[in-house]
Symmetry: C2
Subunit: 347 residues, 2 copies
């Protein structure tokens, strides 16, 4: 299997280095051969080539069996709304170029992290949600622009039936292998694109008679997610609402530093922590590598069909947590100082 | 003072009835004279007139000194994405017709409700956030439609400099009377309308040198809001992001049933609970009227300049909670059955 590592910006470098070590450990133990290449994206790519997504990165990605991705972003651009070239264009561009329309974000609480969350343990315990976030449509990719005098700005939120159907299909199928509940999130009381979304999901539901389908408005879903996370099994939603809900849901898992994601389409899959580039802690060696490690587990499972290997990685994370090891973001007041590890040691 | 009561749908009827009783109690105690009228909106208006917002409702509202609003919505429409006439059009229509561009949503935790929240008490204690949600722009009011074959649907997210400026001004001014922190929430790393938003807020900041301004992306804000609610003072955001964040923030106050809002523009203000029509509990007499009562407090304060009267209403809510009274939504396992009151008794 040939893997392209696109580390990107900030702590992306540190955490993918650890993810790669885990791939190597699996290769050795199970007798697989993994080969690697690297490619540029984001701020790092802008600095080196002027473009946030060099052609070479796309070519290498398409030729690979899977992509291990870090993060993109840089504070410089966040504070300069008029910048034309931005690191995030790299990430959005590669999602689009590879047709990665389904972003899977599993939110599962490791019991040992119950106390790392701001939510009460009795509300959290047993939470296990799988998000399907649509990733190549919505207001992210609709036409955007300014009026001539630059005093008005717009972005088009847009969905086609086909786009909704293909992600909904994946979500329904996943629900069949889980607790058979699917919650579709939209804002159909206000948005036309959401009404289409709801229409499509409603029309598909009879094909999956064993799946209990509910529809929630995004405002209500954002509330229910923390009020009663256990009511959710599979959550299906659009690009923007999925972005918001999954970041919010990181509190269910204790920390953003724990959350992995798989972006899949019809060919090469991309595996990426949900956390961003985190420039405030970059270079300090304190970033939590577990999201990158769990992204590797998703890669082994989904792209390579290596179930046992994937389970071994998850079990390793679990046993490190059970043994009391923590990175700073998931430590609490009771964690002994000596058990708080840096990025490499946790790896 | 002349007040139009627009009760609307579901529990809107029950809770505004209690809100009105509180207005009457204040009138008697302080020797004010309040006169009342009623007007139709939402599903109730559709049933009676065919329109979710009859002209008469707008005429009466414009002629009044303030509006006490209930809720709109009906499950019938939620499950029928193709309905042309919808209850929510009434609410969106009145916001637009009266130019109610600033929606103030104070999120303040009554200490007695610490245990009603899904968030840990030590994270919550002392939280006090004032949201400024823009209310007459964004994807709510941009052009929306379908392709001819109805297979593609779109909504335009759109903001003008002027729209951002007038709400930002209110938020900065409010921050000056509070803890002087303002967090502006957008998605400027992806959306052009958010880049305009950020530009405008950045350009205004130097006029308020005492206010510490920060910018957060909506995904990150949705996470930080529950991870560390005390870091927020005034939060300024657009219509859609404000809708999502304030519903989520209801967990900070223990329940949606506690949250009031004021929608203000250049003339008549509208006062409304954040909760919706809640058809699942309509007619049972169990709805929490405190959001409507606290909306009355906002009306007394903001529209009538009656500070002492407003404070007395808030103090009355506080003392009812201190005495142990709860509606069902804010009761917990330790609340004695006899202290769980219905809508009227709580009023
Ligand atoms: C960096 C940003 C463009 C991106 C997004 O909004 O999709 C990120 O927040 C994510 O969730 O992957
Ligand atoms: C009913 C709905 C249209 C409305 C909105 O989205 O604005 C409601 O959720 C609110 O927050 O007032």
């Amino acid at each position: 299997k040939h893997i392209v590592v696109i580390a990107g910006d900030g702590i992306g470098q540190e955490v993918t280095a650890v993810g790669k070590q885990v791939l190597e450990a699996i290769a050795q133990k199970y007798g697989h051969e993994f080969t690697y290449d690297t490619a540029l994206i984001g701020h790092a790519a802008i600095e080196a080539t002027g473009s946030p997504l060099p052609d070479e990165t796309i070519t290498k990605s398409k030729a690979s069996d899977a992509i291990l991705f870090g993060a993109v972003g840089h504070p410089k651009y966040d504070n300069d709304p008029s910048a034309k070239v931005r690191p995030e264009q790299g990430l959005l561009g590669i999602r689009k170029a590879l047709g990665l329309y389904a972003n899977l974000r599993p939110i599962k609480l490791f019991d040992e992290l119950l106390s790392a969350s701001s939510i009460r343990p009795e509300i959290l315990k047993g939470s296990d949600i799988l998000f399907f976030r649509e990733l190549t449509g919505d207001v992210y990719f609709g036409e955007k622009g300014r009026s001539e005098d630059r005093n008005t700005a717009y972005d088009q939120m847009i969905y086609s039936r086909y786009e909704v159907e293909r992600i909904a299909k994946k979500a329904f199928e996943a629900a069949m292998t889980r607790r058979r509940r699917l919650c579709s999130v939209d804002k159909a009381n206000v948005l036309e694109s959401s009404r289409l979304w709801r229409e499509v999901v409603q029309a598909m539901a009879p094909q999956y008679p064993d799946v209990v389908v509910e529809h929630q408005f995004i405002d209500s879903a954002a509330m229910l997610l923390i009020k009663d996370p256990r009511r959710f099994d599979v959550v299906l939603t659009g690009n923007l609402f999925g972005d918001i809900l999954t970041d919010e849901a990181s509190q269910i898992a204790g920390s953003m530093g724990m959350l992995a994601s798989a972006s899949i389409g019809d060919t090469t899959g991309l595996y990426e922590p949900i956390h961003g580039s985190a420039h405030d802690i970059t270079g300090q060696g304190v970033a939590n590598p577990l999201a990158s490690i769990l992204s590797v587990a998703l890669m082994l499972d989904i792209s390579f069909g290596m179930k046992a290997e994937a389970e071994e990685v998850v079990a390793a994370v679990d046993s490190a947590l059970k043994a009391g090891y923590r990175t700073r973001d998931i430590a609490d007041a009771d964690t002994p100082g000596g058990m708080i590890l840096g990025t490499e040691a946790m790896g």
